[in-house]
């Protein structure tokens, strides 16, 4: 097969990667902006931040992201997975605008649109690099 197409289950995994990451980032942002400014002189403050509710919620979401991300990397190229899940940037912008009430200029919207265009461009290609048969030994795919 010259083109590695994805199953519905694999699209679901990519969707989880795209959703959990921006939701987690948004929770982290909400938690960090409610804290005092952290300086390099007091790096221990970063550790304490981990135990606040918003940061903890963000970490749980990012664990969900990481589990689905690892699964995706096991059957697709890194240079496919990252662009294909970059649609999360649009979700971040929408969350930042309507939940955190951060201003987003026209230039930033244009930037997000270009990123999304790039994502759709790369997502139409194959998901995995073709390798010569000698490189994919049975040991490499986990069969004993």
């Amino acid at each position: 097969m010259s083109r590695h197409s994805l199953s519905p289950h694999q699209y679901l995994i990519l969707g989880l990667v795209a959703l959990c990451a921006p939701l987690g980032d948004t929770c982290l942002s909400r938690g960090m902006t409610e804290m005092r400014a952290i300086t390099l002189a007091h790096p221990g403050s970063l550790i304490a931040a981990v135990f606040t509710p918003w940061i903890a919620a963000g970490i749980v979401l990012l664990i969900g992201f990481f589990a689905s991300y690892l699964t995706a990397l096991s059957w697709a190229d890194l240079t496919f997975v990252l662009p294909a899940t970059a649609f999360g940037n649009v979700i971040v912008a929408l969350l930042a605008r309507f939940w955190l009430y951060e201003p987003i200029s026209l230039e930033r919207w244009a930037g997000i649109a270009l990123i999304t265009l790039g994502v759709s461009f790369v997502a139409q290609g194959p998901s995995l690099t073709e390798r010569p048969a000698a490189e994919t030994t049975p040991e490499k795919v986990g069969t004993r």
Binding site: L46, L70, S74, T79, N89, E102, E107, G111, I115
Partner: protein, 135 residues
């Protein structure tokens, strides 16, 4: 108790350095993690054959995976630091998009992935997008 937010917006170079720290540590971690997952094999197949425990065991017994996680942890704390000083709508898209470009380069060099014209064109679009985001 009063909650003190950031006093003034950080300068261009300080903001760039914070984003660069996130991008470099993240790229190193992602390349190492991707190499680990490729060496392990398809996790869905392993889970179907050996169950969830088998899949988790396959991941946590791979040393390369922990090297990747170590760098991703560094990237996480760099992200927390950046979010404390910059807006989410700048930090998250800029670091994610720049990571996309550095990963395309690292993926071609270190992982020998087929980064074809389509993927390079996507990287260029993302570069322009990042410029507009940071403008």
């Amino acid at each position: 108790m009063t909650v003190q937010l950031s006093d003034s917006p950080p300068g261009f170079w300080f903001a760039s350095a914070m984003i660069a720290a996130v991008v470099l540590t993240s790229t190193t971690g992602e390349v190492l993690t991707a190499a680990a997952m490729k060496s392990i094999g398809d996790l869905d197949e392993i889970r179907a054959r050996s169950g969830m425990k088998g899949a988790i065991r396959a991941v946590v017994t791979c040393p390369l995976f922990f090297a990747g996680v170590g760098f991703l942890a560094l990237a996480f704390f760099a992200l927390l630091f950046a979010l404390n000083h910059l807006n989410l709508s700048l930090v998250a898209p800029a670091s994610a998009s720049l990571t996309l470009v550095t990963n395309a380069i690292a993926g071609k060099i270190f992982l020998k992935e087929n980064v074809d014209r389509r993927r390079w064109a996507a990287a260029l679009l993302v570069c322009v997008g990042v410029y507009l985001l940071a403008h």
